[in-house]
Amino acid sequence: MYNIKARGVLIEGNKGYHDITRDITNPLLSKTTPSWWWVAAFIATSMLIWGVWGFYNTIAVGTGTWGLNNSVSWGWAIINFVWWIGIGHAGTAFSIFLLVLHQKWRTSINRAAEAMTIFAVMAAGMFPLIHMGRIWDGFYVFPYPNTRGPLWVNFNSPLFWDVTAISTYLTASFLFWYVGMMPDFASIRERTVSKIKKKIYGILSFGWLGSARGWLRFETAALLMGGLTAPLVVSVHSIVAMDFAAGIVPGWHSTIFPPFFVVGAIFSGFAMVLTMMIIVRKVYKYEEYVTQRHLDAIARVLTFVSLIMGVAYISEIFISWYSDSPYEMYVFFKNRAIGDYAFEFWAMITCNAIIPQLFWFKKIRTNITMVFIISIFINIGMWFERFVIVVTSLSKTWLPSTWHAYTPTVTEVAIYVGTLGFFVLGILLFLRFLPMMAVSELKGVLKETSLITENTNNHE
């Protein structure tokens, strides 16, 4: 109970069950779409269209339209891929970890976070695809029975683990997300007046009744799926990390990577959640559901994680020195710290390890704008981290004769912006057509937290 006390009221403004239902479902049921939505949607779409051009250009002309070369043959595509996957962590980490830990304060955020996961992972998934030299032969990665012998795939390849892990993660997260929404669909089904919506949400709700036995099985199933997916959250990014850790490139080949990546992922994920929720609570006036205290909680988590990041950076550098391998040392002390990519390196350190420390101050923690800005900084910092890992390591590997610099081209930028557009558009659609908070769960916690209301009031 400690955490609840500390966090105090989760839903402010003495709401009743009906209020909750109303507040959450009204935006869906209302006939009119707010104008800001259209504006945002328009911007997102135009970004997406530019991205589509990037895709087309790459497929039609060739990977050569990117800035890559024989030495640095992975670039922005992979950076963004890892970055998106990282963000994709937030949702599931959020809902599942906190679910398993019985953190009630997740309820008003997890749904949105999970939605974020889905779209982020989808966005991430685009990069490995477009990154392929021969996308039209992409199906070779699947071990399906064929007439080539049959020729299977290389199960030792981290890339293949990646494919499996990510598709699994996407499936699992999606199912978990959807199951969570069924009761809410049902309540919308019962609440809406429009025939079409009734039909559609009826279908989506799978005929949910809300009987006691139903709830029992529902809870069990949800808990089981959550419990199963929890280790997946860890494994996915560990496996992504193995893409690098399993390579022999100096700066990649390091055992710290898997945990380091997972933490980083949660870091960027939470930051992104923060960014998004701050906007959502503003435009939807959900201050009562996503309270100061929620943001505060996330901010605390971020502070802690950023410390871990800092430690990770330091230990990485320490190990490279301790290994006494000239190649390793060159990467960290020459190439990263003072080399061509020094800016990216230091940007990473500052954004990820230093700036979040501001959260120690309650003033800053409670100042929404500051929190917002810092969360943005973290997102940027995490992007730079991936850049540092991928590009600096590759640009100067074992044989000095092969050293070569890398600069991205407009096509790569276009693709990245495109995925951003895709992500935003996805979130917008989610906000418009799906219950953005778990209604039933909110109701579930309403009572006990309001009980707390009293005694916390006494305390304060």
């Binding site: 064929n146 007439t147 080539r148 012998g149 049959p150 020729l151």
Partner: protein, 400 residues
Amino acid sequence: MIMNKSVNVRRMKIIRLRAPLFLFFLLFFTAVSSLVGQTAEAEKNFAQCKACHTIGGGRLVGPDLKGITDKFPEAWLIKFIRNSQALVKAGDKDAVKIFNEYSKIPMPAHNFTDAQIKDILLYIKKGGKLPASAGVKKVPAKVSPASVQKISLSERYVQEKREGSRNLAIFAVISAVLLILSLLDLIFTHYLKAKWIHYVILLTALWIIGEWSWDYATGLGRQQNYQPDQPIWFSHKVHAGQNQIDCEYCHFTAERSMHAGIPPASVCMNCHSQVKSGKRTGKKEIAKIYAAIKEKKPIQWVKVHNLPDFVYFNHEQHVKVGKLNCTECHGDVAQMDQIAQVKNLSMGWCLDCHRAHKVQFTNNKFYGSYKKLHEDLKAGKVDLVTVKMIGGEDCAKCHY
């Protein structure tokens, strides 16, 4: 292309029907002829010889047959006539001598019965005249019954495969329609009350469509049963089948090169300088060879067996070193009129052979380098060495 395939189909059908009839006739007439002896049949049969031989008219492609019966023992002659190449291969002195003397043009094999051959020899002895006594009977054109049977078999195989896949496609379409209907009914118009019907339909439909798409997908880039029209209606059945001409007589580079080699028109000329008309097509087709040579334009045969271009296949390796029989990959060519691709030539098909097929491990000194394998062989750890065991599954065996 499709048009003429259907034509083929029809022809084949007829032959199939005829086959037993032929058998009957043949038995009957051979029986009769052996009794009668020196019939018109001899003359009829000798027509085949006339293409290359005369009786006292000097040499053509082959030697003058006048007095041949005195030169060689009858038994030998029978052997020679039935399959001269066999004798030559066997290294029979006289046979080889003749073969070389007549510029290595093989005498096509003739599957006459002994009686018939004796008959012909008698006919030759008599200087090609018929005794008045022999009544003249009509005899149907003689086609080797066995081969007729086989033709229908091997070509029927191709036909059936082709039709089979066509039917499957049709099924797939139908089931797709059913699938959609049942889905619509299941969700919106609840016309059928019994849900299970829907499910049954759905499942079966999915199954069939799956089957079809699998069949189609595996066929992608392949052309099993591919049987294009050739610029010249050239029958392997006649040449390789009835006349028993050795494959490598025409495809002469199969033992020396990666390509088996498509015979240049000059090779055709070896025989067709004399043989100017065929039984089934008359002069029409053979004339094309002459035309080609006159205009110095190579005959543009249509390549039937195609491998993807990133595959390196070498005939020498398989024919000469591996001692494979041509038919193992090209099917029973000797029984096909128009060549068709019988095997699917997929990588899996190649590998299956590489996994199972025994290499000339002990016969070829090259494999002496495989010390360890030889020890294992001696020690009995392995009983036979397949291609796989010496790297037959390596990618760079065929892809580089």
